[in-house]
């Protein structure tokens, strides 16, 4: 078997075998049983290709609360601080301190908006605490006054050998805390593939990661589920101890999705297959999964499941109620759409803690199968295009749209004279999903932003980009599977492109729809459409007038 394809682009280009040797000398790394690793992915290879040694200077922010990440960190040297309470202000994290404009402030855009596209006042960029070179992944946002931060915020120290960020890297959940370097620190950053290999092949790591997962995240997660909300503390603990967790699909599914778009071939990892015996209920913790049934010579999508949904409950409940039926089987198949994080609750747990106290679940999936396929075409398409990820996708009804571009102009008028979406996109029947940020439930764009410039706002959960800390690396734009982030070359007010004086290269900024977050009255595009053709929709609730 060949070595993993990903290793052709190692995580850290500067990682050398010497570095790996050095790492292997550390006791916590040395504890890994390298002989358990298969030949095609040896531990050495994992360390060489899936990790990198990164250095942070005092004050540098390593991870931010709310960020999505695809890597975990192991402290090699130095000390870090976890901010416990109160949280650091958004501006310190390199995020935009968002404030909704007043009516007249908003109105003033009428005359303050520039006629020159993408004008920026570069003097604003100086004030931001940013270091480590623009355009590179080494750029950092740093805290300018660490003692003051330590003074005002309760923090916890992280020292040598501490591992953090593994839950976000494996579970596609936002980072739960902000961590910054108190003193200059050296960390080993392990990308999610490497972390997954380590958990897979090394017993010690698995135990550590699983245990931390069970301790830190699982309980709260289960408690939030309707199924387990009735359980008392002890019963819940029993469930927590017994559930299994699995991940399917590629963490950065967006890359695969884009490739698959080009090639046209689709391969979705199966989670459960129609006709198989269900051994437990599957709860989706993150990501999306397709529920399908065989139809003719293909698979017909009945619905899709997102975070919080579960699969197989009906079948198990029926089996529990009717013990005489021996050959219980799944009615439908479940496949991962991109990346799915699944919690498997074994049947005995359910029979003990859940079924006795619940009413028969309503079976909806089989009813869906009785409708004509044409009714599902729209949903099938939305799943195919992964628009299910959208919470605020821009949907334009083409049989009503007069192509007046009022939406684009309205967008420009609220964004300094620059549109933040493109009025084209995938179409189906009479609807078009325009290339405007959909504010995804699973925002892959936020993975890998070196400065945290792209982030979700705390209040509304809208994905925004802080123009001041955006370094134009285009990571987000390339990650977005929907091409809804656009890189623009910024200009000064004379209309000249601003270039880096050291390289002569134009300076880019990532731009996208911010759902008019700082403007009064919600998204201007919706308001501006005279024919009511444009709406911002959560795809789960979307029921276009054209269909049905």
């Amino acid at each position: 078997m060949e070595r993993p394809q990903r290793w052709s682009t190692p995580f850290g280009a500067e990682m050398t075998s010497e570095d790996v040797e050095g790492l292997l000398r550390r006791p916590d790394i040395a504890a890994i049983e390298s002989d358990k690793f298969p030949k095609h992915t040896p531990l050495h290879g994992v360390l060489l290709n899936d990790t990198r040694i990164v250095r942070f200077r005092s004050g540098d922010i390593v991870v931010r609360e709310g960020d999505y990440g695809n890597s975990a960190f192991l402290v090699l040297d130095g000390s870090l601080r976890v901010v416990l309470a109160p949280e650091l202000p958004q501006s310190m994290l390199g995020r935009q301190s968002r404030r909704r404009k007043g009516f007249f402030e908003a109105l003033s855009q009428l005359w303050t908006n520039s006629r020159v596209p993408e004008v920026r006042d570069i003097s604003h960029y100086q004030s931001q605490g940013l270091r480590g070179g623009t355009g590179s992944a080494n750029a950092r946002v740093f805290l300018q006054d660490v003692p003051a931060v330590l003074d005002k915020h309760r923090t916890a120290k992280l020292e040598d050998g501490a591992l953090f960020g593994e839950l976000a890297a494996l579970g596609r959940v936002p980072r739960t805390a902000t961590i910054f370097a108190e003193q200059d620190a050296t960390l080993l950053e392990i990308r999610w593939q490497g972390l997954r290999e380590l958990r897979k092949y090394d017993e010690g790591w698995r135990r550590m990661i699983d245990q931390r997962y069970r301790e830190n995240a699982l309980k709260t997660h289960l408690q939030e589920s309707v199924m387990f909300s009735r359980l008392d503390e002890d019963a819940l603990q029993a469930v927590v101890d017994k559930v299994l967790f699995e991940t399917y699909g590629s963490f950065d599914w967006n890359v695969a999705f884009q490739k698959q778009r080009q090639s046209g071939s689709a391969k979705e990892p199966g989670i459960a297959r129609q006709g198989e015996y269900p051994d437990g209920v599957l709860m989706i913790r993150a990501g999306f999964a397709r529920v399908s049934v065989k139809h003719g010579n293909g698979e017909r999508t009945l619905t899709y499941l997102g975070a919080g949904d579960h699969f197989g409950l009906g079948e198990l409940y029926t089996a529990w109620k009717n013990p005489e039926i021996s050959d219980i089987a799944l009615y439908t198949s479940l496949t991962a759409l991109g990346y799915v994080d699944v919690i498997r609750v074994p049947a005995p747990v359910l029979e003990e803690h859940v079924f006795p106290f619940m009413e028969a679940p309503e079976s909806t999936t089989m009813e869906l199968a009785s409708t004509p396929v044409a009714d599902d075409a729209m949903m099938e398409w939305a799943v195919e295009e992964r628009f299910i990820n959208a919470t605020r996708s821009m949907v334009i009804e083409l049989d009503r749209c007069v192509r007046c571009d009022d939406c684009v102009r309205a967008c420009a008028s609220t964004h300094g004279g620059n549109p933040r979406f493109r009025r084209h996109g995938r179409t189906f029947d009479n609807i078009m999903v325009a290339n405007a940020c959909m504010h995804c439930a699973d925002p892959v764009c936020m993975i890998g932003c070196p400065t945290g410039a792209i982030h979700r706002t705390v209040e509304t959960g809208i994905v925004v980009i802080n123009d001041l800390t955006c370094i134009g690396c285009a990571t987000c734009a390339n990650s977005c599977p929907y091409n809804n982030i656009a890189m623009v070359a910024i200009r000064n007010s004379d209309g000249h492109t601003i270039t880096d004086p050291n390289t002569g290269k134009a300076i880019f900024k990532a731009t996208k729809c911010d759902f008019c977050d700082d403007n009064p009255g919600g998204p201007a595009c919706v308001r501006a459409c005279p024919h009511g053709a444009l709406s911002r929709v959560h795809f789960q609730d979307f029921n276009p007038s054209g269909a049905a």
Binding site: F103, A106, L107, Q109, L110, E397, L398, D399, R400, C401, V402, R403, C404, D406, R409, A410, S413, T414, R423, H424, T427, N430, M432, N519, P520, G521, G522, A524, V526, R527, A528, C529, P530, H531, G532, A533, S535, N543, P544, S545
Partner: protein, 273 residues
């Protein structure tokens, strides 16, 4: 869903318009009975309606502030526009007034009304036809799109000539097809929903096909396929263009009407009131 909301707004504003008209008609009749001047009431109402109709354009420029959804504004604009016509007749008392200035004003007002009605008509009609093309293109990108198709066609023709050693396709392109690919064609037919372009393509467009051998036909069919694509783009060009260009008449005339109406208002106040 959206349709329902929108037509709800139209109905609301329509009812409101009828109410305003009835109120104005009643008030002006009342004023007439009272030996007052009914045209003052109807005139002022009409002027306010005209200004508020004009404010639709201002609203479009001020999308950054929440001034109500443009959907409601359009519904208002349509209802108030119809109201303005009725109000105009109520005000003037005649379809065609006597004075020169008033005649010019009336003429322009009618033009604005007619273009408005036609504009609303095409705004409801053409989008459906556009959606039925199954392609979607931004109006401003159409020239580039046509240029790209033309480039592709010319590359195919060139390649065909090169590979097959026969210039039949090239001659046909130069003699006939080039006219079609050089720019959007059959504007009127596309606007009224005809298929003159397809008809042309299937007629003169493929006339040379019978003189081609198999390898040439392969190239030629690709060219015709691109031609069919261009027909759709032409349809977008014609329909989207009309959807934009009718405003080139409606908006400037509206401006003229509003200015003339304001001047008329001043004149009446100076000379009569």
């Amino acid at each position: 869903m959206a349709q329902g909301r929108s037509s709800g707004a139209i109905v609301t504003f329509g009812v409101l318009s009828i109410a305003v008209f009835a109120a104005a008609a009643w008030a002006s009749h009342k004023a007439w009975l009272d030996l007052g001047d009914p045209s003052i009431i109807t005139g002022c109402v009409l002027l306010v309606i005209m200004l508020s109709l004009g404010f639709f354009n201002v609203r479009k420029r001020m999308s950054m502030v929440p001034l109500g959804s443009a959907r409601f504004w359009l519904a208002f604009h349509v209802a108030a526009g119809l109201l303005a016509i009725a109000m105009f007749w109520l005000h003037a008392g005649l379809v065609w007034p006597i004075g020169l200035y008033e005649r010019v004003l009336t003429f322009l007002f009618y033009l604005v009304s007619i273009t408005g009605l036609l504009g609303y008509g095409i705004s409801r009609m053409l989008p459906r036809r556009l959606a039925q093309t199954e392609i979607e293109i931004i109006y401003e990108r159409i020239p580039a799109e046509i240029a790209e198709i033309r480039e592709k066609v010319e590359a195919l023709v060139f390649e065909c000539t090169e590979k097959t050693g026969s210039d039949t396709v090239a001659k046909h392109y130069i003699g006939t097809l080039n006219w079609f690919f050089s720019r959007p064609r059959f504007w009127v037919s596309h606007v009224v929903g005809g298929d003159a372009a397809g008809h042309w393509l299937r007629g003169p467009g493929v006339a040379a096909r019978r003189y081609l051998n198999d390898p040439e036909v392969e190239y030629f069919d690709q060219v015709i396929e691109l031609g069919e694509l261009k027909c759709l783009i032409d349809r977008h060009y014609a329909c989207q263009g009309l959807l934009k260009k009718w405003l080139l008449v409606h908006v400037p005339l509206s401006m003229a009407v509003i200015i003339m109406a304001v001047w008329h208002f001043i004149l009446v106040n100076v000379y009569s009131l």
